[in-house]
């Protein structure tokens, strides 16, 4: 009898442990700093992906709409995963996607775009990674949301997911 009771208690305790660990797993440990001061977009000059010309930042962000800057590279595996979501976002009329091709081989990057589709209205080349730094990026992929006043209002480290897409859609509506 005593034995059975201790068995049941042990069992319940273990189940409890399982639940705690399971929940703990879903708590993200990734720390994303909050943007407290809305930062202006940096001014820069960069090469266009398709045409071999220099473009200034004023030219890139000239329209009075929302912009999404997405930093990507053909060698970046999470970029591949988020690409379909970017395609979905690009269908939205009130936002334009700007791609920042980060430290990449142009040939591979073009292959990537041809294979998976092009969600970007414009792609800029960032061969040495300095443009990413100007934006305050930590790595690839990273996505910035820029409002009509040309300020960075949201920053998403790592690949975007359905939730983030929903959030973006809510803001730009």
């Amino acid at each position: 009898m005593k034995n059975k009771l201790s068995l049941i208690i042990l069992f319940i305790f273990l189940i409890f442990c399982f639940i705690v660990f399971y929940k703990g797993l879903n708590n993200s440990n990734i720390y994303t700093p909050k943007i407290t001061n809305k930062k202006n977009i940096p001014t820069f000059k960069a090469k266009d992906f398709h045409l071999n010309i220099d473009i200034t930042s004023e030219k890139v962000f000239e329209e009075n709409i929302y912009y999404i800057v997405n930093i990507w590279a053909s060698w970046c595996i999470p970029c591949r995963k988020e690409h379909s979501l970017l395609m979905e976002l690009s269908k939205n009329q009130s936002v334009k996607l700007i791609g920042l091709n980060y430290r990449d081989n142009l040939k591979n990057a073009k292959k990537f775009i041809n294979e998976l589709g092009n969600p970007y209205s414009q792609i800029l080349i960032d061969t040495d990674g300095t443009l990413g730094v100007e934006f305050g990026a930590y790595g690839v992929p990273e996505t910035f949301l820029i409002n009509k006043n040309k300020k960075i209002i949201e920053k998403f480290v790592g690949p975007i997911n359905q939730e983030i897409v929903k959030k973006i859609k809510l803001i730009i509506k």
Binding site: F18, V20, L25, S28, W75, K107
Partner: protein
């Protein structure tokens, strides 16, 4: 590219073969033949062979810098020296799991060859339990952590290996630790099998003892290497930080040590059987739990490679399946042998071993609670706490003193019933120890009772085991060496913590810094270029009050792939002390931040751990039966 293909398909073949092996084993288990079917040996060997092929092809991909392989791409770079390309193979999540699998299959194959005098059913059942674990890991590797993922377009360059992992000690730390960790799987399988077969006996105890010793030795040395690495690479000058990941390796060590002692009893008398089985189960479960905590990203540390919840959930479910299975088997099949009297005479070797077990369980629960409680609290109340060294020190240190006394006296007791022998010498040693401690501490002007008690107890163990070593010659030598090593270990740690001194200051090139015990002179800096990093080397002359001068050359390294700045401490090791100097760049300034530490007896910490594991090795190779 071809290598990746071969590696991947040999893994799949390996999994299929495992199912065949299980089928053949079950058939053989039910057959009436006396010996284990020859096919089982062949299949088990093939299984090992396929995993080796897979592992070698991953190494080959790393050596050739084949970036079409995702694992290689994520963890290697063409400019890396060949040695670190190879060690990079297990310096990442996917590769290290392949290593798990390799050790799992290696151990079961060795077990099959080495256990021919054991009963057939017991051996086959052990094989089957082990195959269960192996299947779990095969699935884990193939489903969530395939080391051979193909990348297209093929990147021209890899992302590089984290520079702090580019280190010789750390290159062999994982394989050794894994031999210990995963080696405990065989103890787990064997004890479950022995329980179901009602074979927990003296013979079984003698047979399983070897496997326990092997795991224990590797685990001990593996933990030591990790801590040596932390000592000189992380640049804090400490060697144990009670980091969750360190704790996770310490926990199986504690249960394994308790198991090792319990098995000494079991191999003579059929008692403590529940202890042995529970400890065998716990050791492996804690190893798995460690893998879960480290790999799932539930804890953040240097060992967390990727935050992929799918992996965490897989190990978590697998872990609990194993726990429930083993507990179920234990409760269903285990019977305490009632014929043997359960009454222990209070003064006997077995009761002292029982005391040891309880101490180990206490230490285990402290470490376990300190490690896991923050996770529980976070989930239940979203409150974040961090448990630091003071918690462990305060809870463990006071209990070390009685523990040491038991360690000194316990082995002198006889089995079944005994009287305390050599009372006079014991009392004498005790008085000497206390007096010696008192004199030493008085000289150092430390009057904490806490230190006096602890150091006296350590000295007592030190003298007692030293005397026994000389008097008893080779009788019981493994135990004496191990216990002597432990006393040395604690003495080294205690004096190290009392006598360490540290100076932190900012200093410019050409400047001198005077402190109460000497002078630090920053001579010059030089720049050095290596294949995978550039470095700034500082030249320091340190003169102590006896005007003895030592030169230390710490480095700041700027690794290129990925770009990470690390500080390489320069350590001058002598028998009596380590002089430890590390420097850091102060941003936008010509000053360097330096940290100079004098740490006495550091070398003895490592020597004593080696002694402890040497004791284990002696016990393993010694033919003669211990009294």
């Amino acid at each position: 590219m071809l290598a990746s293909q071969i590696g991947y398909y040999s893994l799949i073949l390996g999994l299929l073969l495992t199912f065949t092996l299980c089928g053949v084993s079950i058939k053989d288990f039910n057959s009436s033949k006396k010996n284990v079917d020859q096919n089982i040996y062949t299949l088990s060997f093939l299984q090992l062979f396929l995993v080796i092929v897979s592992f070698l092809s991953l190494i080959l991909s790393f050596v050739k810098s084949d970036f079409s392989n995702e694992t290689v791409f994520n963890n290697s770079h063409t400019t890396k020296p060949l040695f670190y390309k190879i060690t990079g193979t297990w310096g990442n999540h996917e590769g290290s799991l392949l290593l798990w699998l390799l050790v799992l299959t290696l151990f079961i194959f060795l077990f099959l060859i080495k256990s021919k005098e054991q009963p057939k059913k017991y051996r086959i059942l052990t094989l089957l339990f082990q195959q269960l674990i192996i299947i779990g890991f095969f699935l884990f590797v193939l489903m969530t952590s395939n080391p051979f993922n193909y990348l297209f377009p093929i990147p021209t360059e890899g992302l590089g290996l984290n520079p702090i992992l580019q280190d010789p000690a750390l290159a062999i730390h994982p394989p050794l630790l894994y031999l210990g960790y995963v080696g405990s799987s065989i103890i787990f399988s064997a004890s479950l099998s022995a329980v179901t077969q009602n074979y927990i006996s003296k013979e079984w105890g003698q047979h399983i003892k070897k496997w326990i010793l092997v795991s224990w030795i590797f685990l001990t040395i593996g933990i030591m290497l990790g801590s040596i690495w932390a000592y000189y690479e992380l640049g804090w000058g400490g060697f144990w930080f009670w980091d969750p990941v360190e704790n996770v390796s310490l926990m199986p060590w504690l249960t394994l040590t308790a198991l090792l002692h319990s098995i000494l009893v079991l191999e003579r008398k059929t008692i403590l059987t529940s202890w042995v089985v529970i400890l065998s189960i716990t050791t492996f479960t804690l190893s798995m739990c460690g893998t879960f905590l480290v790999r799932s990203g539930i804890l953040n540390s240097v060992h967390t490679f990727a935050n992929d919840p799918a992996r965490g959930i897989f190990i978590l479910i697998f872990l609990f399946v194993l726990i429930f299975l083993s507990l179920g088997i234990f409760f269903l099949f285990h019977k305490e042998n009632n014929k043997v009297s359960k009454n222990f005479f209070w003064l006997s070797k077995e009761s002292s071993i029982l005391v040891n077990n309880w101490f180990m369980m206490y230490f285990l629960s402290v470490v376990l609670i300190g490690t896991v409680y923050p996770i529980f609290l976070d989930v239940i109340s979203t409150e974040k706490i961090s448990v630091g060294p003071p918690f462990y020190h305060k809870l463990i240190a006071p209990f070390l003193a009685p523990f040491l006394l038991f360690m000194a006296l316990g082995p002198k007791l006889k089995w079944i019933k005994s009287k305390i022998e050599d009372k006079i010498s014991s009392v004498l040693f005790f008085i000497i120890s206390v007096a010696l401690t008192f004199i030493i501490l008085k000289n150092l002007s430390i009057d904490l009772l806490f230190y006096t008690v602890l150091i006296s107890a350590a000295f007592f163990l030190f003298f007692t085991t030293l005397k026994e070593l000389f008097v008893k010659k080779f009788n019981n030598i493994s135990q004496l060496i191990a216990h002597f090593g432990f006393s040395l270990f604690l003495l080294a740690i205690l004096f190290n913590s009392i006598l360490s001194s540290e100076i932190i200051t900012n200093i410019k090139v050409g400047e001198k810094y005077n402190y109460n015990k000497g002078e630090i002179f920053f001579e010059k800096i030089e720049e050095k270029k290596e294949n995978n990093y550039n470095s700034i080397v500082g030249f320091f002359k340190i003169t102590d009050k006896n005007s003895k001068t030592i030169q230390l050359k710490p480095e700041v390294r700027i690794y290129n792939q990925p770009t990470i700045i690390t500080s390489e401490a320069d350590i001058k090791t002598t028998l009596l002390r380590d002089n430890f100097l590390v420097m850091n760049l102060v941003k936008g300034d010509e000053y360097f931040n330096i940290r100079y530490q004098v740490k006495p007896f550091m070398l003895w910490i490592w020597i004593s751990v080696l002694l402890i594991s040497f004791g284990g090795t002696m016990s393993l190779i010694k033919k003669r039966y211990e009294k």
